[in-house]
């Protein structure tokens, strides 16, 4: 029977051990996360090119973005359009494929493997491959369309088609979300389906009133992670279009990269990073707030 003093010493020793075990993470968090987040906020109020010390300019960066910068709103619009198109498409497509794979068909693991495969590939290799596919003359897409007598557009060289091309390309990786949905679907208890069938529910009713509500937590998580990653898209635009033609694919993340590492305007770039951060934060909170209306935890709506 430990005395109170012995217990508190033991507790103190355990707390000490705890801090020791997480110390690499704590150091990493402070140095590589906390400090940079605060520093980039501070930098956003400065003019800084690394060679010379930062110069405090207050809200000038923020003001310039809204008034003087010709591509600030363009980049926001491009990124927003891309996200608005590709996030729902990926979600719906991934869900549809997962539903098909969940329908008690043979060779599920083969289908699953093949659909998931594109998601494990390197962003650069994928970008280069799709640059070839979308090439107006040597690309297989236009050559295939030519078989049907359709003259394909200039894709990455066309102001109208460049962004749609990137959206199409993003759907190649739909297997990533499909796998998650498939697993969620497999977790829906069959008793619920049985009960619904007994009550006379047809296939659509079963989907809408049983399947969908039961997987809403996973949908929520994927939606949030999708927002966070899509709004920061960089590699495909960087490798394939460099933001063109005429800014049609100037993703915000790309513009941020150019501002920081080509123009060496660290203050302005930090401002951009924080604007993006705020946007992502607001969107995420909005989604989470709305989730009480459509997400079912443990089969009940959390109010």
């Amino acid at each position: 029977m430990a005395t109170a003093r012995q217990r508190s010493t033991a507790a103190r020793r355990e707390a000490w051990a705890f801090h020791l075990f997480i110390s690499p993470w704590i150091i990493g968090f402070i140095v590589f996360t906390l400090f940079p987040v605060l520093a980039s906020l501070a930098l956003s109020f400065t003019k800084y090119n690394i060679a010379q010390p930062p110069v405090w300019i207050g809200l000038k960066n923020y003001r310039n973005a809204v008034t003087v910068d010709p591509t600030f709103f363009l980049a926001l619009r491009v990124t927003w359009t891309y996200a608005l198109a590709s996030i729902p498409l990926q979600l719906v497509l991934g869900l549809i494929i997962a539903l098909m794979l969940n329908a008690d068909i043979p060779l599920v693991s083969v289908w699953r493997t093949l659909y998931y495969l594109p998601s494990v590939l390197s962003g650069v290799a994928v970008a280069v491959l799709w640059a070839l596919i979308f090439h107006p003359s040597s690309g297989i897409l236009n050559n295939l369309l030519a078989i049907f007598g359709i003259k394909g557009p200039l894709w990455l060289f066309s102001k109208q088609w460049a962004l749609p091309a990137l959206i199409i390309m993003s759907l190649w990786g739909v297997g990533g979300s499909m796998i998650i949905y498939l697993s969620a679907l497999q977790g829906v208890p069959t008793t619920l389906y049985e009960a619904a069938t007994i009550d006379g529910a047809g296939a659509w009713r079963r989907f809408w009133n049983v399947t969908l509500p039961m997987i809403t937590p996973v949908l929520l998580f994927n939606l949030i992670m999708g927002i966070i990653s899509t709004l920061q898209s960089f590699t495909s635009a960087f490798v394939m279009t460099q933001g063109g033609p005429e800014g049609a694919t100037l993703f915000f993340g790309l513009k941020l990269y150019y501002t920081a590492f080509r123009d060496i305007r660290m203050g302005y770039a930090s401002m951009m990073a924080w604007v993006l951060f705020i946007i992502i934060l607001v969107l995420t909170m909005a989604v989470v707030k709305s989730s009480s209306a459509w997400v079912y935890y443990e089969g009940t709506l959390k109010r």
């Binding site: 707390a15 051990a17 705890f18 075990f21 997480i22 690499p24 993470w25 990493g28 968090f29 140095v31 590589f32 940079p36 987040v37 690394i50 494929i97 098909m100 794979l101 329908a103 068909i105 043979p106 289908w111 699953r112 093949l114 659909y115 495969l117 594109p118 494990v120 590939l121 390197s122 650069v124 290799a125 280069v128 491959l129 596919i133 003359s137 040597s138 297989i140 050559n143 295939l144 078989i147 990533g176 796998i179 998650i180 697993s183 008793t191 619920l192 049985e194 009960a195 007994i198 996973v218 998580f221 966070i228 920061q232 960089f234 490798v239 990269y257 590492f261 660290m266 930090s270 990073a273």
Partner: protein
């Protein structure tokens, strides 16, 4: 729970009323329609798979073609002659072995750091109690959602001031300080499923926490560690923006970066470009095929339980 018992009772009542016929006639019609819908689904899946596989097949075909055949209409799927020479050319134009060595160096450096520090932190969060452990773990979770662009620039400035630009250090060192919130989360969840009896037994034998972590928890966590390994390797191998920002010369570049430079500096034909791309994705494809279950398991744990 009461729902299901009611429905099974309900179901049993229906069956009894139908005279306990195991397959009433309306069921047979249903069976046929189910077969039709399954076939339909298989066809759609097959069509989808064909569309998904086209880019792969095309990539490999082009890598073995001569430059003129790429432009053929209708597209030529099988090259008339398999030009393995394209691969030889691509691999000798860029310092392939050097780039490969750099990539491996970074992959392994990151992997070891991640496995060690993430599992240490995960052990702390899973097994050790302290007054601030709960809110610290909330911080871990919060960092999982932090967009990387907001830490990008100050991190770069820090490493630039340290003189670490054009070295591997900025890419490897952070992994030794926590190894990523995702991994800590994943490992902590797994550690929590290991029964405390093992810890207790070890403690009776005089093991301190470190030995428990090293000799009990880690060996028992092989599946979770394998999953973290797979994803870490994939992330490091495919990483483009990190090397792009920190590695400034061809001799320090990774393979992924090398592909990008190759395209810009040499303006190669598509076939050589595809050859390099195939070589770049080959290890990941191979790893995926051998470790499929770990991939899927990992995606599921973070996506479904997250």
């Amino acid at each position: 729970m009461s729902d299901s018992t009611m429905s099974t009772a309900h179901h049993a009542a229906i069956r009894k009323a139908a005279g306990d016929n195991p397959r009433p006639r309306w069921h047979q019609g249903k069976k046929a329609s189910r077969l039709i819908s399954k076939t339909l689904i298989m066809l759609m899946l097959f069509a989808g798979v064909v569309v998904i596989m086209i880019p792969f097949v095309w990539m490999i075909s082009v890598s073995l073609m001569n430059a003129a055949e790429i432009y053929a209409v209708p597209p030529k799927w099988i090259p008339s002659k398999f030009l393995w020479r394209n691969y030889y050319q691509a691999v000798t134009t860029i310092p392939f072995m050097l780039l490969l060595r750099n990539s491996l160096y970074i992959v392994i450096g990151r992997l070891v750091g991640t496995l060690l520090t993430a599992s240490l932190a995960a052990y702390g969060f899973a097994r050790l109690r302290a007054p601030d452990s709960n809110w610290l773990f909330a911080v871990v979770l919060a960092t999982m959602m932090l967009p990387s662009s907001v830490t990008l620039i100050p991190q770069f400035i820090l490493f630039a001031k340290l003189g670490w630009v054009n070295t591997f250090k900025p890419l490897i060192v952070p992994a030794w300080f926590g190894g990523g919130a995702y991994n800590i989360f994943l490992l902590r969840q797994f550690f929590m499923t290991i029964p405390l009896d093992y810890d207790d037994a070890a403690r009776i034998d005089g093991c301190g926490h470190f030995r428990i972590w090293w000799q009990i928890i880690l060996p028992l966590s092989a599946p979770a560690l394998a999953t973290v390994t797979i994803f870490n390797i994939m992330y490091s191998w495919n990483d483009f923006m990190g090397p792009l920002i920190y590695l400034r010369s061809m001799t320090e570049s990774t393979l992924a970066l090398g592909l990008y430079f190759f395209r810009g500096a040499y303006n190669p034909d598509w076939n050589e470009l595809m050859a390099i791309s195939v070589l770049l994705i080959l290890p990941m494809v191979a790893m995926f095929f051998f470790a499929q279950r770990l991939f899927i398991q990992g995606v599921v744990i973070s996506g479904v339980k997250g």
